[in-house]
Symmetry: C7
Subunit: 93 residues, 7 copies
Amino acid sequence: MIQPIGDRVLVQPTEKEEQTAGGIVLPGTVKEKPQEGRVVAVGAGIFRDGHRVQPEVKVGNQVLFAKFSGTEVKVDGQDMLILHESDLLAILN
Amino acid sequence: MIQPIGDRVLVQPTEKEEQTAGGIVLPGTVKEKPQEGRVVAVGAGIFRDGHRVQPEVKVGNQVLFAKFSGTEVKVDGQDMLILHESDLLAILN
Amino acid sequence: MIQPIGDRVLVQPTEKEEQTAGGIVLPGTVKEKPQEGRVVAVGAGIFRDGHRVQPEVKVGNQVLFAKFSGTEVKVDGQDMLILHESDLLAILN
Amino acid sequence: MIQPIGDRVLVQPTEKEEQTAGGIVLPGTVKEKPQEGRVVAVGAGIFRDGHRVQPEVKVGNQVLFAKFSGTEVKVDGQDMLILHESDLLAILN
Amino acid sequence: MIQPIGDRVLVQPTEKEEQTAGGIVLPGTVKEKPQEGRVVAVGAGIFRDGHRVQPEVKVGNQVLFAKFSGTEVKVDGQDMLILHESDLLAILN
Amino acid sequence: MIQPIGDRVLVQPTEKEEQTAGGIVLPGTVKEKPQEGRVVAVGAGIFRDGHRVQPEVKVGNQVLFAKFSGTEVKVDGQDMLILHESDLLAILN
Amino acid sequence: MIQPIGDRVLVQPTEKEEQTAGGIVLPGTVKEKPQEGRVVAVGAGIFRDGHRVQPEVKVGNQVLFAKFSGTEVKVDGQDMLILHESDLLAILN
């Protein structure tokens, strides 16, 4: 398994880019078009003002994140991304 | 539904750009011309000096924000923007 | 009405650029020539070191601010500017 | 009168650039040649680490400041400069 | 032996780049393709907000790190890298 | 007399650049060749984390400082430099 | 003698670049090839979060540091370097 370091999270990008579970459609303009995926693992957070601040997201959350961000890895044959929490835009309930 | 992360807010841009509810007319010079919209969801805020500082705006506020800022998403067929709080200029009472 | 967000202020620029109420004449060199205007609304300030630090200026203050700064808006037909407090140079008593 | 905002100070530049009251001669190399002037008004200072830190200089101090810094204004016909405290190099006793 | 300074860690890169112990396959796009290696020594951490914050990783951890980061050294004939903790992406359990 | 402001110090550069009192010879490569001089006056220091942090150097110290740093002034016919403490490299005992 | 200021250290570079005391061989690729040397003097450290944080290294430590960093000085005929602590990579036991 992969344990992201610091404020990073491991996300499995969702294939279907048009219609998403939460009724979110990602408009066609490639540049701003955020991507969607499921959170697979979450880092312990980074140290700020004397506390280790944990990321807001939890394992299992469906999230929107900025296109072209993160580093690609393959885990057990699955394409995944290691992202900073700051790359994440929103949680899709 | 979408839950913005950190200091982000979800805003639905208002179509009519000339006359607005609060009597605000956005002058024609495209560069500085701020946009107007309604706050649909607000993030939990970011950690600063040991506190999670919540954004000033509330759901339902009509706000002015810098043109060309934010990331486009479509929610249930509606065009929306995910903005940082720092992109927001003012609340229109 | 407009409620500026964070450390922003709403200012109505004063037309007469040569002689001003406080005997301030703004020299001709366009680049440095600061502008003058009246404070119409003041933001709640931004969070720093655990406190929300309010802007120094009050509604009604006549202020000097850096030329070409801020974002233009029209309020009830009046040209106004949304400025950061850091754009403001001085209060004219 | 002008009340500078934040860490700014209002300075009236001294005309005679060669020999100054404190025996300071500003060498000819235009770039580094600092200017001299008298402090006319001082801002309340800026907020840092929970305190409003007041500028070190007082009204009446003769000061040296970096050439080409600050914003020009005319007060009652007098050429003046609004400078940040960080533009000031030294106080001339 | 080498004792990294501050937030640095000493890592011995792992040769086999395709299949890794934790089933992690590093995709072919050279730019993002992170590298893998074993942590050999860990710095004492750097001072932040009054504490010396220790790196999250321990000696013996298998880690993923950004390609082309760090400084090369040879220790007892072995190629090694001195990296900042911020170059490390994840721990492979 | 000149009282430097903030973290600045007033230094009188030493003429003889080859052999110095402390047996320090400044190698010929002009770029890195630091200069030497005597501290004539020291600022009160700047505010950091709630304290005014005084410069380490004292009046009378012989110091090494980075070439081409600081601002030139003449005091009672003497060439002097106003430097930031961060320009100072070492004290020569 | 030289007393480095702030977070600086005085290092005497070690001549023999191939094999070093700790069995460290510095690979040939000039860019990343760190240098080795002995710590001759250590600064008092810099002020951070209300404390003066001392450098980790001690006089007599053999250290690795980034190539081309620091300022050259000659002390009693010996070539030495004044480095920031952040230029130091590791201590060689």
